[in-house]
């Protein structure tokens, strides 16, 4: 257990578009151990969903993925062919999507869809698969599990569907779960329940989890490791405590100032803002991608940006050694 379950080095994703190449993801590195939860947080267009699809080998044909290293439990994913990937997907690595309504097939019963992966990947009979399906539905907190098997997705509420999605992902006891905005479409109360469920199950089954989200609250409460993504780059990585209690990169700090925090932000006071929009990533990106919106930007931001390591496992990329020009008071 010394080597991590998943190791990614210099992952790059290029998308050919009319008139050039969109450098959607550039040089991403991270490690993930068993039982750990990594949250990739970023706004729309940051490339966080592409990253998860790249890990699963689910990028569209035109999209180019390169990496110097991408290993899942010793299997080199950069060289894995379709057959290898198919064997991994649904079995050892599983994915949970944002909108359970569109990721469940409306034409098949819950039971059918739950048992499918198991029958496909494992040499088990129908009865055993059925028993396993019932067991998992109960595990994700669904009552009357046996009768649910014959129901269709449209007969369930959004929260229940997301639970079914989770049960489906867990059927083959995967070692890695990638959840892309699993709670964004849900109500806050249901969101808390689903997140608790994911965290508990992850711990219980010693699963590694990658959670993609834009919600800083979710990240702070769920993550062991946090990766802040901006315009295709990881601008800051570290433990949840490091990133939230001592954020270094100007983007991370800016994001935290943008959200009203009950008890901390004065009611009705002005919230912090990050002016501007994500830069155009077509055709060569140099320097810091955040410099167009950064209040700390200097001329050197156009050049190569150094990696900084303020603490063990805490990294960020900025020309300023502490992420800002002049010492700031607490965020």
């Amino acid at each position: 257990m010394n080597s991590p379950l998943l190791r990614v080095k210099d992952l790059t994703i290029d998308i050919p578009v009319g008139g050039g190449t969109l450098n959607a993801v550039r040089g991403i590195d991270f490690d993930l151990n068993r039982g750990e939860t990594l949250c990739i947080v970023g706004e729309s267009g940051s490339g966080k969903s592409l990253t998860s699809l790249a890990l699963m080998g689910l990028l569209g044909g035109r999209i180019k993925r390169t990496a110097t290293q991408m290993e899942f439990d010793g299997i080199d994913l950069t060289k894995a062919n379709n057959k290898t990937m198919r064997a991994l997907r649904g079995d050892r690595m599983a994915m949970i999507f944002q909108e359970p309504m569109t990721s469940l097939n409306p034409a098949f019963t819950i039971g059918n869809q739950l048992m499918e992966a198991l029958l496909l990947h494992r040499n088990v009979g129908k009865e055993a698969a059925r028993a396993r399906a019932i067991e998992l539905l109960e595990k994700v907190g669904i009552t009357a599990a046996e009768s649910r098997l014959s129901q269709y997705p449209h007969q369930l509420s959004g929260g229940l569907r997301q639970r079914v999605m989770i049960a489906m992902a867990l059927m083959c006891e995967p070692e890695l779960i990638i959840a892309d905005e699993p709670t964004t479409a849900l109500d806050v109360t249901i969101q808390a329940q689903i997140l608790r469920l994911l965290v508990d199950l992850g711990r219980e089954m010693n699963m590694a989890m990658i959670l993609i989200t834009h919600d800083l609250g979710v990240v702070a409460r769920v993550a062991d490791k946090v990766a802040v993504m901006y315009a295709g780059e990881l601008v800051e990585t570290g433990s949840a405590e490091q990133v939230f209690n001592a954020p270094m990169h100007p983007y991370t700090r800016g994001l935290l100032r943008c959200i009203p925090q009950p008890g901390k932000t004065e009611r009705g006071a002005r919230l912090g803002t990050i002016p501007g929009i994500v830069p155009n990533l077509v055709g060569g990106v140099t320097g810091c991608p955040f410099r167009t919106r950064c209040d700390q930007a200097v001329a050197a931001c156009r050049d190569a940006i150094p990696h900084r390591k303020p603490a063990e496992n805490h990294r960020f990329r900025c020309v300023h050694e502490t992420g800002h020009q002049i010492a700031e008071t607490a965020v």
């Binding site: 002005r270 803002t273 002016p275 501007g276 929009i277 167009t292 919106r293």
Partner: protein
């Protein structure tokens, strides 16, 4: 002006409006679509031919000459006097083809317009108002779909007598079903958009909401169905004329020309093949254009 703006005045975000307008993007897609361009060019040529028929036709399409019956076209050993030969009454085949384009295009355009108006009104009303209106329209559509078009058209034309006007009106009153179905579902999609709610909240009257919020957003589908139904109407006219119940002789109609040539088909196959080929080219061009328009106006659904 206000405190509200002070934070954003030198906002680089606002420099970011650089994308082309929807019109520019549409133009780019139109010119980049091969099928659409081929369809438009071919159809354009045929329309021009129809408009300038009197200038282009070498002979009077009605002038008979019993001395020059069934002359073969040039490529089968005929003369340039009649490039595509003459028919069994000695009328110049090329001139009849050219004038025939007028009949086909006229029928296609007018019949599709009539059914377009009927079907759009019904479909939009059904989709927008729902409830009882929708139930009635859906019932009418089902009734219409249960009627075989060709059979009904044949029966009506047989009773009223065939003529250009009768064929146009009959086809116009029969071909609205697809308009109604498509417009109904497009309206259903658009009706739930928040800009419709916003327009209502602003105080827009229902006709105004329909005309300025709903219609512009379903017009692309209307155009696509329109082209398909034009092709449909043209083919039906040819079929009716072929059966002797459409446009009446001596009017030059491609369907009629095929019909008149069919007796000689074994000996002079070109008499059927030439009008058949032009009909094929016209319908193909319209369908290419329709498919192309569907592609370029609904880019959200395909990458």
């Amino acid at each position: 002006m206000s405190d509200a703006t002070t934070n954003m005045t030198p906002d680089p975000m606002l420099e970011a409006i650089v994308g082309p307008t929807p019109g520019q993007m549409l133009r780019k897609r139109i010119f980049g679509h091969q099928g659409l361009m081929i369809g438009v060019v071919v159809l354009g040529i045929l329309v021009l031919v129809a408009i300038f028929a009197p200038l282009l036709a070498p002979h009077d399409p009605y002038a008979q000459s019993l001395m020059a019956r069934m002359k073969p076209p040039v490529f089968l050993g005929g003369t340039w006097e009649h490039p595509l030969g003459t028919d069994h009454l000695g009328r110049d085949y090329l001139s009849r083809l050219i004038y025939g384009a007028r009949v086909s295009l006229l029928i296609g355009l007018v019949a599709a317009t009539i059914s377009g108006v009927i079907g759009t009104a019904m479909g939009v009303a059904a989709g927008y108002f729902g409830g009882k209106v929708d139930a009635v329209v859906t019932y009418l559509i089902n009734v219409r779909l249960a009627m075989p078009v060709v059979l009904v058209a044949l029966a009506v034309v047989a009773i009223l007598g065939g003529s250009l006007q009768v064929v146009i009106v009959v086809l116009g009153l029969l071909l609205w079903d697809r308009f109604a179905v498509v417009m109904r579902s497009s309206t259903l999609q658009v009706r739930g958009r928040e800009y419709v709610a916003a327009a209502k909240a602003v105080g827009c009257s229902t006709p105004r909401v329909l005309m300025s919020e709903i219609m512009p957003n379903i017009a692309n589908n209307l155009i696509v169905v329109m082209t398909l139904e034009m092709a449909h109407a043209i083919l039906l006219e040819a079929a009716l004329s072929f059966l002797g119940l459409g446009v009446q002789p001596p009017t030059p109609s491609w369907g009629l020309m095929v019909s008149e040539g069919k007796n000689m088909m074994l000996f002079e196959p070109w008499m059927v093949l030439i009008p058949g080929a032009v009909l094929f080219v016209l319908v193909l061009a319209i369908n290419l254009m329709g498919d192309g328009l569907r592609d370029v106006t609904a880019p959200e659904n395909r990458s």
